[in-house]
């Protein structure tokens, strides 16, 4: 490895602007004549709109315009789409409830946008939005997934009988039934995966700007995938044609999935800009974010695992109800199906698996992919079940896992996935050593002498990143291909610009992608510029989510670098009068191997652009592009071990140790990977101990601010002990698997396994608040 190449702990190039407050976010953007928007939102979870009267608002200071669903409909703006068509087990397509960007006569969750007010200032827009008088006829409300399917439950959409959007299955029902015919033991567990709010530090925002002179639209927005936003806004929402719409996602302060989707607000701001002839900016406040950013998780499952007399797993059966919220969002059909049930084999040899998932509508905000997206839910199911099984068998959880580990690769699971590589025993052994599992009983006794209950919990996760082979996802219902594109532009002086379809909103691409280039040509990372987030600059891209920027985005860069390297070698060979096969490029030099004949990298680049002395027939210039379509998902895996101390008097859980041993394949920048793991662990521990979106039975969001939504703080977390082991991915050029979500995927079951071990009661749901833990302790005493 070079000092700045792959494997080096290069300091993040982007941090200078972030830590000096010079990042430029959507809300920092300003264009001449810009005005401000506020949305009029539903205060009810389910109601008919009987009248809308903006006459008082129109008289208020600074008022410019009020628009609602009637005008939106008249202008032919399309309904919000879901980009992945899931088919129910009876062969019928999923039942999409119509979701106009501004409500059309009925509202189905608190916060649903009904109208937009545009005014001179943000404060005036908000004042006037309050001045819009709306009368409602309230309808009955249901907020809980299983309740929504019950007979007599309030019905949300005429399209979806019993509120069921899809009733989907995966795996072999017959083979699984057979596995349960004669097992030595069956483990049963009811599992709830709590609903979460993503909470990026930067709230969503949009600035829509219609230029009538050019008949051209620009949208600045907080997006993880600006090209996808442009595609969807033009192809489905009819806001603007693709070639006349520029989408810019500048610095984006965190996404965690919530900024993948194309929300009503950006569509409406763009459309309203054309209607009102002024640029329109909207910035969410924190409560709007809690109300309207797509939530994550919210599954209720029952699980059965059949074991043979040697404690080997025979089969797994899982029934899940996934609460989708009031409407479908961009990927909300895929998250609880293809991103979830396909991971139910975990790290284990399970001959038969059957999963049934019912996606149901409720009067809550839409639910979609949130850091981990389906894989945390799968990992929670499997890892809580594994630990429970080991306890019921009286075996050590490590030993039970060990005898069931997959050890040969590639491994075809019964649920679509084909794992290319891994070494599950190695990560488990590494974690157990660091966690000193052998010394745990002694620590438990010592804690007991202080009146504390100490527990140990393990989680061996596997997940799928690098979404995804286009042909495969297309056959499963995806509306788009999931390749990535890159362009490498070498300048005449040898500096390099990388135009990537990936988008960085905290991941550090400006550093890691530059390291990949540095590795290839030996140029300093400071000579490499990463360009992303602007549809007018970057050729195309599918964006960043599902930990795909390394495995897919960097693979595209690598492929484009191959082409640049090949051409540079040709030019070098010609200039050095050598054989092309003898040319090597390293340390910023183009050399003839085994001789002292060489040129500086920039001399070759300059040669490419002067065109004074190129091989016959060669085009001048040094610029290449590539589209990379992955062959397979990648499969990061690892083992997390959590040790807790519970205070029986109050139910407070303290995490006294957290060990993570991850296999992410090859690693570009260990420091950034460590940071990603820390952040993921904080979110996973947040889910296990603190976080939970809470609606009351009338559909009001109780957790609509940080006074009630408990975010993890530094003091809730221990000093993490993280390490990585490497089995390189076999299906992409750099051997990368992805590291962005693993922490959030693997940690919740480790925490819950530890607490339930400490208190001797397995009946505990997330978040394990002090009161719940205290009640669980009292229930067994």
């Amino acid at each position: 490895m070079g000092v700045e190449g792959i494997g080096a702990k290069v300091l993040r190039k982007e941090d200078r602007r972030f830590i000096t407050g010079q990042g430029r976010y959507t809300d920092d953007m300003s264009v001449p004549g810009m005005k401000y928007a506020a949305f009029v939102r539903s205060p009810h979870a389910h109601a008919k709109i009987t009248s809308i009267d903006a006459s008082a608002a129109r008289e208020m200071p600074g008022f410019i315009e009020f628009l609602d669903g009637q005008q939106l409909k008249a202008d032919g703006i399309g309904n919000i789409i879901c980009g992945w068509a899931v088919t129910s087990k009876d062969g019928s397509p999923m039942k999409m409830g119509a979701y106009p960007a501004l409500a059309d006569g009925i509202v189905r969750y608190v916060g649903q946008p009904i109208g937009i007010v545009i005014a001179e200032t943000q404060a005036q827009a908000r004042d006037a939005a309050e001045g819009v008088m709306i009368e409602y006829e309230e309808l009955p409300v249901v907020v809980n997934g299983p309740d929504a399917m019950k007979a007599g439950a309030p019905q949300l959409h005429p399209e979806a009988e019993n509120n069921i959007c899809f009733d989907w299955e995966l795996g072999d029902a017959d083979a699984t039934a057979k596995a349960f015919e004669n097992p030595a033991k069956v483990i049963k567990l009811d599992i709830v995966n709590n609903r979460l709010s993503p909470n990026p530090i930067e709230p969503r925002a949009a600035l829509g700007h219609y230029n009538s002179a050019e008949d051209h639209y620009t949208c600045y927005t907080t997006s993880q995938n600006p090209h996808v936003a442009r595609l969807v806004m033009s192809a489905f929402y009819n806001v603007a044609p693709e070639h006349k719409l520029r989408v810019i996602a500048p610095d984006v302060g965190g996404g965690f999935g919530a900024k993948i989707y194309i929300y009503p607000e950006e569509i409406v701001c763009l459309w309203a800009s054309k209607r009102t002839h002024v640029p329109v900016k909207w910035t969410s406040d924190r409560t709007e974010a809690f109300l309207t950013d797509a939530h994550g998780r919210d599954h209720v499952s029952d699980v059965e695992m059949a074991l043979d007399a040697n404690n080997k797993i025979l089969g797994l059966r899982v029934n899940t109800v996934a609460n989708l919220g009031a409407y479908m969002s961009l990927f909300s059909s895929a998250t609880p199906t293809y991103l979830y049930a396909t991971l139910l084999s975990g790290q284990y040899n399970i001959p038969a698996i059957y999963a049934n998932v019912k996606g149901v509508y409720t009067n809550t905000a839409p639910v979609d992919a949130y850091r981990g997206a389906g894989r945390p839910e799968a990992t929670y199911v499997i890892e809580r079940t594994m630990e429970t099984a080991a306890r019921e068998l009286g075996m050590s959880p490590a030993e039970f896992r060990r005898i069931n580990f997959i050890r040969e690769f590639p491994h075809q699971t019964p649920v679509i996935m084909n794992y290319d590589t891994g070494d599950f025993e190695a990560t488990m052994e590494a974690a157990m050593k660091t966690a000193d599992v052998a010394g745990f009983e002694g620590r438990r006794q010592e804690a007991k002498s202080r009146g504390k209950l100490r527990g140990l919990g393990m989680s061996c996760y596997i997940e799928a990143c690098g979404i995804a082979p286009s042909k495969a996802v297309g056959s499963l219902g995806a509306g788009v291909g999931l390749w990535e594109s890159a362009e490498v532009r070498v300048n005449p002086v040898g500096t390099i610009e990388i135009l990537t379809g990936s988008h960085s909103h905290g991941q550090g691409h400006e550093t890691t992608f530059a390291q990949v280039v540095s590795q290839r040509f030996g140029v300093p990372v400071d000579n490499v510029q990463i360009v992303h987030g602007d549809t007018d600059k970057v050729q195309f891209g599918m964006g960043t989510y599902g930990s795909r920027s390394g495995a897919v985005g960097c693979s595209a860069i690598s492929k484009a670098l191959d082409k640049v390297e090949a051409k540079a070698k040709k030019i070098g060979a010609h200039l050095l009068e050598a054989d092309e096969g003898d040319i090597v490029i390293e340390n910023g030099e183009v050399k003839v191997a085994g001789t002292d004949k060489k040129l500086a990298w920039h001399e070759v680049c300059l040669g490419a652009y002067t065109g004074h002395n190129l091989p016959d027939g060669m085009e001048p210039g040094l610029k290449e592009g590539a589209f990379y379509d992955p062959q397979n998902f990648t499969f990061p895996a690892g083992c997390y071990i959590c040790e807790v101390e519970v205070d029986p008097d109050t139910g407070v859980t303290e995490i006294v140790q957290f060990v993570a041993a991850d296999d992410f394949g090859n690693i570009i920048n260990p420091m950034i990977v460590e940071g990603q793991v820390h952040g993921g662990l904080a979110q996973g521990i947040g889910q296990a101990l603190l976080e939970g979106v809470n609606y009351d039975e009338t559909g009001q969001l109780v957790t609509a601010s940080y006074m009630d939504y408990a975010m993890p703080r530094a003091w809730d977390l221990p000093m993490f002990k993280v390490e990585t082991l490497v089995t390189p991915c076999t299906t992409n050029p750099l051997g990368l698997k992805g590291c962005g979500e693993a922490g959030a995927i693997g940690s919740p079951p480790a925490v819950m396994n530890a607490i339930t071990d400490a208190i001797g009661n397995n009946d505990l749901t997330m978040p394990a608040t002090p009161e719940k833990v205290w009640n669980a302790i009292n229930a067994v005493n």
């Binding site: 409560t287 008097d649 109050t650 957790t703 940080y706 006074m707 408990a710 205290w774």
Partner: protein, 268 residues
């Protein structure tokens, strides 16, 4: 936030006059750490903000005639760091250092906290336990009479909290069980062994009528200043507050546990 106007008096008299002129529509602002967030959430719409931060009479900490007196405009950070407070009431200094976060502590004031009487605010528990007096521009009120209910105090219209004063306790302990989301107290207990030997126990965050004194615990601790004195006691869930973070029954348990811990820390 709704439109408002900003006023900057430099004396208590001027502040009272501005308040009177506002016909009940204006609001005093001390640190603004409660008021401004409420306005941002559009839950309060005062026509004017009367900023007390430039009123010199509200500043200052003194120890005279056996009483510690703290001006209403004193910030939490000042109370945390002040040498006189540390000398005479180290537990109050400790309490101040655990309020909110550094930004809140450098803006928020004891006068604002006392006047606001949030049912989970920290100072009211201490002032009750120590038998403090609240000074206003017109009178002096003992803490027992001052905190009348959730977000309610004995303050009358146009009355301003100017200071608090108390006789430092012989020993005191403060223990705060935090709400996992807001980090305000879900059960905060201040135990004071007063100069006359009696014991005060002030409880915040838990009661359904705001801060309160746990009198049974006070008498038990009065005869035996040790956590074990509380063993037979219990609080009724009917008097406790219940919410999504903790039921009334859970809070009743917490108050007892936390009181024991406060006694233990007072003895250290």
């Amino acid at each position: 936030m709704y439109e408002t106007s900003y006023q900057r008096p430099t004396s208590i008299d001027e502040a009272v006059k501005l308040l009177g002129d506002s016909d009940g529509e204006g609001k005093l602002m001390s640190g603004g750490m409660t008021l401004i967030p409420t306005m941002k959430a559009r839950l309060a719409m005062p026509t004017s903000l009367i900023d007390l931060r430039h009123v010199a009479e509200l500043k200052g900490i003194s120890f005279e005639n056996g009483r510690l007196k703290i001006g209403g405009g004193t910030t939490h950070a000042e109370i945390k760091a002040d040498a006189t407070v540390k000398q005479h009431a180290p537990t109050l200094s400790y309490l101040a250092g655990l309020i909110g976060d550094p930004a809140v502590r450098h803006m928020g004031t004891i006068g604002g906290s006392v006047a606001n009487h949030d049912p989970a605010a920290d100072y009211p528990a201490a002032l009750l336990a120590m038998g403090a007096t609240i000074h206003t521009n017109t009178r002096e009120v003992v803490a027992d009479d001052f905190f009348t209910g959730m977000f309610e105090t004995a303050l009358e219209e146009n009355e301003i909290v100017t200071a608090v004063s108390f006789e430092p306790p012989q020993a005191a302990g403060w223990e705060k069980f935090r709400n996992p989301a807001s980090r305000y107290a879900m059960a905060g207990v201040f135990v004071a062994k007063r100069a006359d030997g009696s014991v005060g126990v002030g409880v915040t965050g838990a009661g359904n009528a705001g801060v309160f004194r746990w009198k049974e615990a006070e008498s038990a601790l009065g005869s035996n200043f040790d956590g074990s004195a509380l063993d037979g006691l219990s609080l009724s869930a009917n008097d406790m507050m219940g919410d999504m973070h903790g039921s009334a029954g859970y809070r009743a348990n917490l108050v007892k546990v936390v009181t024991k811990r406060a006694v233990a820390s007072a003895k250290r």
